[in-house]
């Protein structure tokens, strides 16, 4: 029996918000400082302390909701999620439960289930055998990270492959980066993704038993981890087994999947409304502040760029790679020497420049947006051939500077276009290739390639092909 299976995947993303202070206390967020230097009575969970919600975290939560097209709850409340773990100082995490800040929404082709706010756990570092307590392995708790504001974004189970999960997470990251609400760095843990994975027979509409896969701390590992789990579930089902609902851990080093918790330790979080906090009521003022802070999002940018005449493919690339889009718009606005046409410029950014700087941010390269705009303008004005313009770009990438100056000093300027210097060279080329000239005269325009090639060799590529063609036609009267 060889049934076809289809994965059904939902993602849960935890995003550390880039506020100045923690979710419920005034401690500054920590960026690798020595352990326990960013703590206070509140985030250590000392007896008698009380939380107070960070206004900017709520603001960022609303911006995320607006970006995802979610319904923003006029009133939301925090709950306590109770469980014991050393990284959880109060014995409960303050999170949101049945009245979250945002519900619903969509990003790309994936629907959003909800977005809620909560506090991050502290960091538990394995102390190794040196820190043994009564013969057992020991860990050390560092509360610097504890209490960092998190937005948890939960999707509907709309994802159908590991590759799609990766691609969608990239969209989400771009969107969040554009919002400026998080560093969204997976390796550093400011963007964390868990996946709820089940598989079902193709054509079935029922959901299979899902597992929750954790610890995929890069885009690559996300894709690999999800694929590994899909494969594990398929093998299990094909062998006549059953998927057990459990939390799994993906080890990127070995690509092995292991169970995190035994079944006996089934959790009962005993959620109840956090009595130390009051409901968050979204005022008109808070809403308009969030709306005013919204930047143009990738989807809107894509539409606008298409409206400027940029091709669909280029507009998409520029919109979803924020740094490319920003570079493009800076170049477009640079004006200066020869105004670049949007599509021509987009083409140069998306193809030539990306080919040279790769994944790097072009804004950090030595090619200034103004220099690229000028170069594209010079090409349009036929002041440099496309071939030579690419050489100029190589030089800009290597050394920076201005295109006009490079063209000047390297003698890469185009010949033709009112430049009489080209005329005698074409004359000589026709003379040297009499047979070709005859073919052209008899109507075989394809043969002109040989003449152009000759002229290019003579001019070291400075000649403009179209101009050469014009002169040949003129001289041969065709």
């Amino acid at each position: 029996m060889n049934r076809e299976f289809e994965p059904v995947i939902g993602l849960e993303i935890h995003v550390q918000l880039s506020t100045k202070t923690k979710m419920f206390c005034g401690c500054a967020l920590s960026f690798g400082e020595p352990p326990n230097t960013h703590t206070c009575p509140v985030c250590l969970g000392l007896p008698g302390t009380l939380p107070r919600a960070n206004a900017r975290a709520i603001h960022f939560g609303l911006m995320i909701g607006l970006a995802l097209g979610s319904e923003l709850a006029p009133r939301s409340i925090f709950h306590r999620k109770n469980y014991f773990y050393p990284d959880l100082p109060k014995g409960y995490q303050i999170s949101q439960y049945d009245e979250p800040l945002c519900r619903g929404g969509q990003l790309g082709d994936i629907r959003i289930h909800r977005v809620h706010l909560e506090e991050d756990a502290a960091k538990l570092v394995h102390a190794g055998s040196s820190g043994r307590i009564h013969g057992s392995e020991a860990s050390v708790v560092d509360f610097n990270r504890g209490g960092t504001p998190l937005a948890e974004i939960v999707t509907e189970p709309d994802v159908r492959s590991a590759a799609q999960a990766r691609e969608w997470l990239t969209l989400l990251r771009t969107t969040l980066r554009r919002l400026g609400v998080s560093d969204v760095n997976m390796e550093e843990g400011s963007l964390r993704c868990d996946a709820n994975i089940s598989i079902r027979a193709v054509g079935s509409t029922e959901l299979g038993t899902k597992t929750e896969l954790k610890n995929m701390n890069s885009f690559r590992y996300l894709e690999r981890g999800v694929n590994a789990e899909i494969a594990r579930q398929e093998a299990l089902l094909r062998a006549g087994g059953e998927v057990v609902q459990e939390t799994l851990h993906f080890d990127p080093a070995t690509e092995r999947i292991t169970s995190l918790r035994s079944k006996e330790e089934a959790h009962d979080y005993r959620y109840f409304p956090e009595p130390d906090l009051v409901p968050v009521a979204i005022s008109e003022e808070m809403l308009s502040a969030a709306r005013d802070a919204m930047p143009e999002l990738p989807a809107a940018r894509e539409t606008r760029l298409v409206g400027l005449g940029v091709s669909d493919a280029n507009a998409r690339q520029l919109a979803w790679r924020t740094e490319l889009g920003d570079y493009f718009e800076a170049a477009l606005g640079a004006g200066g020497n020869g105004s670049a046409q949007p599509q021509a410029l987009a083409n140069w950014v998306c193809n030539e420049l990306v080919a040279r700087v790769g994944e790097e941010d072009p804004n950090a390269s030595s090619v200034t947006p103004a220099a690229l705009a000028e170069l594209v303008g010079l090409v349009a004005a036929k002041a440099v051939t496309i071939g030579n313009a690419k050489l100029v770009l190589d030089r800009l990438v290597a050394d920076g500077g201005g295109p006009s100056q490079i063209i000047e000093t390297e003698g890469l300027g185009a010949m033709g276009g009112g430049d009489d210097a080209l005329d005698p060279i074409v004359e000589a080329a026709l003379a040297a290739n009499g047979d070709v000239a005859e073919k052209i005269k008899s109507g075989n325009m394809k043969a002109i390639g040989a003449i152009i090639g000759h002229v290019m060799r003579e001019t070291k590529g400075r000649a403009d092909g179209a101009e050469v063609t014009r002169i040949v036609r003129e001289k041969l009267g065709v």
């Binding site: 009575p41 250590l44 969970g45 000392l46 007896p47 008698g48 302390t49 009380l50 939380p51 107070r52 919600a53 306590r80 109770n82 014991f84 050393p86 100082p89 109060k90 014995g91 409960y92 307590i133 009564h134 013969g135 057992s136 708790v141 009962d268 005993r270 959620y271 109840f272 009595p275 130390d276 906090l277 009051v278």
Partner: protein, 482 residues
């Protein structure tokens, strides 16, 4: 050295208001008042104190409203560098790095810390027998309990080793010990006083309040406790100021006596009821009208309370895990360490309530217990709102019984819980209520409880003051002769 102008007994015999005035006049000094109380507190033999200041604090700022009259503070208020143990072995000797907002506020107003008072562990109890540091004895009869959970504060004030004290009330923990010790105890409107730095029992019910010798002292202390605190987002402050009570009559005051809290079947002692009825007659003489009223859901208040408070407590007490502070019992594994630490660190009553609360929040039981209890709470608040349309105050005996003997109820948790029958409804509704000494029954104090709508503290204090003057309670039975 010149002869002392005042003996200790003269100084500690003054009410706090009298002492403040005497210091302001220059008749006595804040330093000698502090020292008199420090000596009295150090000599306490009721086990009312868990810590007593060893030296006088820096002088109160000139013109400070409370003039340097010292304050006894229930153990569960965090005080920087001073043991704050909430009566529990699990944080025995714990010295917090910060001070509770209300304690800091009072110190700034000129009431320095005299000592930390004994209490039921994590404020869970009505007899003070649940303290990890031994029970407090009732100064009226040392074979009896002082009530709880603020039993140390009540006993210290009654015995005269503190001029006044801070307590906390979750379901009656200020009012009931005040009644059993023959002093004044006031539970303010929820939210008027910051909870920041109060070691939590049940967050949505816990409220700090004064335990004092008379109503005027309660008003003065309360005046410097209320106020919004940025550190407690459930604090709202008090609209206006708490004023010194002056009323001499109850003309036009309508008192409602809820049948549900005074009728048969709740085990009200006849002597307690008799004292209550005598005071109602006195109130009528002062011009009040007295009528029976109804709080239809009050009979379910205790049930709702014993769902809600333990549920919150089970979560509030999860932080005592042996990681960051307090006791730890190693047992190899992490879970073993947690379990051993908590099992050995918590007392029996605390464990019972953690179990009860964990159960009622657990999967499958939430709606039946927690959800229903929250709805009963809504109904009880509505009952009070309706009652206050026809009455200015609801009055009841504070406690159904006088102080009982040590050990009398420890074997039966439910009978102990019934001590709070008359005080819990007000806690659930978040409304203010005062207990004033109401004469004796079988030689032991009884309490008269007066509850009003939210933020009616000034009116409550006025009415309580008028009643207090008319009752003329003799508190000397609690004083050890100097």
């Amino acid at each position: 050295m010149t002869e002392a102008r005042n003996t200790f007994s003269e100084l500690t015999a003054m009410t706090a208001c009298t002492a403040v005035e005497a210091i302001e006049r220059g008749d006595i000094s804040a330093a000698e008042v502090f020292e008199a109380y420090r000596v009295a507190a150090a000599a306490d033999d009721l086990n009312a104190y868990l810590w007593v200041a060893e030296e006088a604090p820096p002088a109160a700022p000139a013109g400070a409203a409370l003039a340097g009259v010292p304050l006894a503070v229930k153990d569960l208020f965090c005080t920087e560098g001073v043991p704050s143990q909430a009566g529990s072995k699990i944080i025995e000797g714990y010295r917090p790095p910060y001070t509770a907002s209300v304690v800091a506020r009072l110190a700034a107003a000129g009431a320095p810390l005299l000592g930390k008072t004994n209490q039921d562990e994590f404020a869970m109890g009505s007899s003070n027998e649940n303290s990890a540091f031994g029970p407090v004895l009732n100064p009226w009869d040392r074979a009896r309990v002082p009530g709880g959970s603020s039993g140390g504060s009540a006993a210290a004030v009654a015995a005269g080793s503190a001029p006044w004290a801070l307590g906390t009330d979750t379901g009656g923990s200020i009012r009931q010990p005040a009644a059993l010790c023959g002093i004044v105890g006031l539970k303010p409107t929820y939210g008027t006083i910051s909870r920041y730095g109060m070691i939590a029992f049940a967050s949505s019910l816990d409220q700090a309040g004064p335990l004092t010798r008379d109503v005027s002292d309660a008003a003065l202390l309360l005046a410097h406790m209320v106020g919004k605190d940025e550190r407690d987002c459930t604090s709202v402050g008090f609209p206006g100021v708490i004023e010194r009570p002056t009323a001499t009559t109850l003309a036009g005051v309508r008192l409602g006596v809820p049948e549900e809290l005074t009728g048969d079947g709740i085990g009200m002692e006849p002597g307690v009821l008799a004292a209550f009825n005598a005071t109602l007659a006195l109130a009528e003489e002062l011009g009040a009208s007295v009528e029976t009223c109804h709080l239809p859901h009050a009979t379910h208040a205790l049930s709702a309370y014993y769902v809600l408070a333990p549920a919150e407590a089970s979560s509030n007490l999860a932080r005592y895990d042996g990681v960051r502070y307090g006791a730890r019992v190693e047992d190899g594994s992490l879970v073993g360490m947690y379990t051993k630490t908590r099992s050995q660190g918590f007392g029996a009553e605390v464990k019972r309530r953690i179990m009860l609360g964990t159960y009622s929040l657990s999967s499958g039981y939430y709606d039946a217990y927690y959800g229903s209890a929250q709805r009963v709470r809504t109904k009880i608040a509505e009952d009070f709102r309706a009652a206050f349309e026809g009455f200015d105050f609801i009055v009841t005996p504070t406690s159904p019984s006088v102080a009982f003997e040590l050990g009398a109820k420890t074997a039966d948790p439910l009978s102990m819980y019934l001590s709070d029958y008359c005080t819990v409804p007000m806690s659930l509704a978040g409304i203010p209520a005062i207990s004033i000494p109401n004469g004796l029954s079988e030689g032991l104090p009884t309490g008269f409880q007066l509850a009003g709508p939210a933020f009616s503290e000034n009116r409550i204090l006025d009415a309580a003051f008028a009643l207090e003057q008319a009752i003329g309670f003799d508190a000397s039975g609690a004083r050890t002769p100097a």
